[in-house]
């Protein structure tokens, strides 16, 4: 089984090192990156990350909800969990998928991570027209009439990866033809009609 990749953001060494040790006792997870900083001051590449653990303390509700929104725009299949190390107002935790508390036992931390990430995976399959950010990018270029090779070059991917994305797009939308995908992209405002007409349709 592929390990789920976790990123931790917190200014406290005690917390991040402790969490890392606890998380890595479980074979399901690996901590792929630690940011010992305030989340607002770092720029984090989120591609390929399964779970983001972030400590929202010392920021405002609106700052934190903007941060969550930005993260989800970049990677909408990722689970976001808050680390509650101090008192947090309830609104602060509205946008997150789950919360880890300072008093949680190691077993409860691992089970919270597992349950939250599984629950999230379940939602994604039932709402099957939700494309990931990368899939949307590929779809836009398909709609504009580019070949797999051209898409690969433009997005810095291998042709093989582009084909995999295209298969997933078709599996999620149930649409196979290029012209059908173009309509899907237009209906979801991923491309505008003028962009589509400039490319000369199919």
């Amino acid at each position: 089984m592929k390990k789920k990749s976790i990123v931790i953001i917190d200014t406290s060494s005690i917390i991040v090192e402790g969490l890392k040790t606890i998380i890595e006792t479980s074979p399901e997870f690996k901590v792929s990156k630690i940011y010992r900083e305030n989340y607002a001051s770092v720029s984090i590449p989120l591609h390929g990350i399964d779970i983001l653990l972030v400590d929202p303390r010392m920021s405002s509700v609106s700052q934190f909800s903007k941060f969550i929104h930005d993260c989800r725009t970049e990677n909408d299949s990722m689970v976001v969990m808050a680390l509650q190390t101090t008192y947090l107002p309830a609104q602060m935790l509205e946008g997150v998928d789950g919360v880890l508390e300072l008093d949680d036992s190691p077993a409860s931390i691992v089970s919270k991570l597992r349950n939250t990430s599984n629950k999230n995976a379940g939602n994604k399959t039932s709402d099957n027209c939700d494309l990931s950010q990368r899939e949307k990018e590929v779809l836009v270029l398909v709609a504009k009439g580019l070949t797999n090779k051209e898409i690969a070059d433009q997005l810095n991917l291998s042709v093989y990866t582009v084909i995999t994305h295209r298969k997933n797009i078709t599996a999620k939308t149930n649409i196979k033809s290029v012209s059908g995908l173009t309509i899907y992209a237009l209906l979801n405002n991923l491309v505008t009609q003028s962009e589509f007409e400039l490319s000369g349709g199919e």
Partner: protein, 227 residues
Amino acid sequence: MNKFTEKNKFIELLNYNPQLILMLPRFGMKLGFGEKRVEEICKMNDVPVFMFLLLCNVYSFDDYMPSDEEIKEIDGKTLVNYLIASHDYYLNHRLKHIEKHITKIANEAGKIGSVLLEFFKGYEEEVASHFKTEEETLFPSLERSAQDAIPDNVDTHSISKSHDNMGDKLSDLTNIIIKYLPAEIMPNERIGVWFDIIQLSKDLDKHAVVEEKILMPYIKWMKGVGL
């Protein structure tokens, strides 16, 4: 039941598979058949009963595979007439009917409407051109029975492939109409045309099965390979 025979009443065939009503116009047969048996109806309408049953059986039973003997017995002219009548029904009746409804929906769908209509017309053109290829390259030689009459360049593989592509587009259309167009655009019209497309799609699938289980093996046999 796994096969119809000439002793069945035609109404029994219809009760088993209502889609078989479409066989009547394709064979030039009329309604008002009462309780007549298949053999009587065929005789009245001057249709070879063997061909009528072969088509009804392939059309209705997924695991029905014509034997080598049956393929040899095929009457090319009847088969071609049947296929041309089917093409005419799809292009000039069903697709025109669906186009009328899609146009209504497209007119209410704002900017996306023109793209939707274009998609449908693209599909129609693809179907028309597929039928034209078959009618021009394949059918004329089938009506003769000389073995050397089949052109060597007939690409049966690309014909099958094109069946798949057309099926994909029709399935895309049903998804777009039901799942992705904004909810408020003509819901009743969309539900109506959705059923029309599903019905057409089933019929076209069977049409492709007929070509693959009857037409292609017949061509192979005429070419003197495979049988």
